[in-house]
């Protein structure tokens, strides 16, 4: 077998069950992609339910989507795209052997943008919904145009954005760990797998939002009379 298998000459972060560094890197990579596949199906269950109920209650779902504020949805989309860029740059810095300070800078930038997303969501959207009684099961006023169908839409809005926000929170936790690992000089151009696979996760969360934004905010049509 290869010389790398000799257990004394461990590169940093090398685990005993592997024979080569590349084998380990590929395993981690594949593992994260399979995890993301399960995430697609996890969100997919909810998307399926959304598609079905949207077809069954189309007018109510359009009414419901008009309760959402496009300007905050669009802003948050932009914020998340920025955070994906900073994440990609953090990984690139590690790949090319950039300084520890630069990596940490990009990671912190990603965290700030992620937190901004959550802040906007909480302060300008969910808080307002709470005040206006638009949260089914928690504060729901009903009446007027707030028919059962609209309530159903708002349920999906909160389930889907809530689950997405939960993933963001987990992502922020992961980023915190990455910052600490970077500060402790754990990464090098040879070994930066944790950065890379966390990046995959972060971009995935971004993609989920790329779909949530049109599905929840836009596709009812925003033109007058829709």
């Amino acid at each position: 077998m290869s010389e790398l298998a000799v257990h004394s000459a461990h590169p940093p972060g090398f685990a005993h069950q592997f024979e080569t560094v590349e084998q380990q890197r590929e395993a981690g990579h594949l593992g994260m992609w399979i995890f993301l596949a399960t995430e697609i199906l996890f969100f997919g269950g909810m998307f399926t339910a959304y598609v079905v109920y949207r077809s069954l209650h189309l007018p109510s779902f359009i009414l419901g989507s008009h309760e959402l504020l496009v300007r905050f949805g669009a802003t948050n989309t932009a914020v998340l795209i920025c955070s994906s860029l900073t994440m990609a740059l953090a990984i690139r810095t590690a790949q090319t052997g950039g300084s520890k300070g630069t990596i940490i800078f990009w990671l912190l930038a990603t965290m700030v943008l992620g937190a901004a997303f959550l802040g906007i969501k909480l302060r300008y959207e969910w808080y307002r919904d709470w005040v206006e009684g638009l949260i089914p099961g928690v504060s729901w006023l009903g009446g007027g145009t707030h028919t059962p169908g609209v309530k159903m839409f708002m349920c999906f809005y909160f389930f889907m954005t809530g689950l997405h926000a939960l993933h963001m929170v987990v992502g922020l936790g992961i980023l915190t760990v990455l910052v600490i690992m970077t500060a402790r000089n754990r990464f090098s151009p040879e070994y930066y797998a944790p950065l890379e696979i966390s990046g995959l996760y972060w971009h995935f969360v971004d993609i989920v939002w790329i779909f949530l934004f049109p599905l929840l905010y836009l596709i009812g049509g925003r033109y007058p009379g829709s």
Binding site: Q23, L85, I219, G225
Partner: protein, 125 residues
């Protein structure tokens, strides 16, 4: 340990910063366009436009930010597989949910098949 051993170690592809910035700009433009289009009355095409733009944005993120353009076939199979399974779930669920109002009408083939069955098993039950 089978495939990689035979090959030499090749370092992962490093994407130029310029590519990242271009992709980023394209994503921003996509966001603006999708928002703008929503305010134009296109009827059912509003939905089509919004989802098409979303799919394009997804491709950009997956191919460049997530490096799939530079990775092995296996990664692509995983992604395609996941979306294929999602498609199965949505399609077959909708095959029920959206056809509940369809009525069933006896057909020539069904009457014929049943007739043959009765002849073949005459007197058994």
């Amino acid at each position: 340990m089978t495939e990689h051993q035979a090959r030499d170690y090749h370092p992962p592809h490093i994407v130029p910063v310029g590519t990242y910035v271009l992709v980023f700009l394209a994503l921003m433009v996509g966001t603006a366009v999708t928002t703008w289009v929503a305010y134009i009355d296109l009827g059912a095409w509003n939905t089509v436009a919004a989802l098409t733009i979303a799919v394009c944005k997804m491709f950009l993120v997956v191919l460049f930010f997530m490096h799939v353009k530079y990775s092995k076939g296996l990664t692509r199979i995983v992604i395609i597989g996941a979306f294929f399974w999602l498609a199965i779930m949505i399609t077959l669920t909708c095959s029920d949910e959206l056809t509940r109002h369809w009525e069933i009408v006896p057909q020539g083939w069904s009457a014929g098949a049943l007739h043959i069955a009765r002849l073949l098993f005459k007197g058994t039950v």
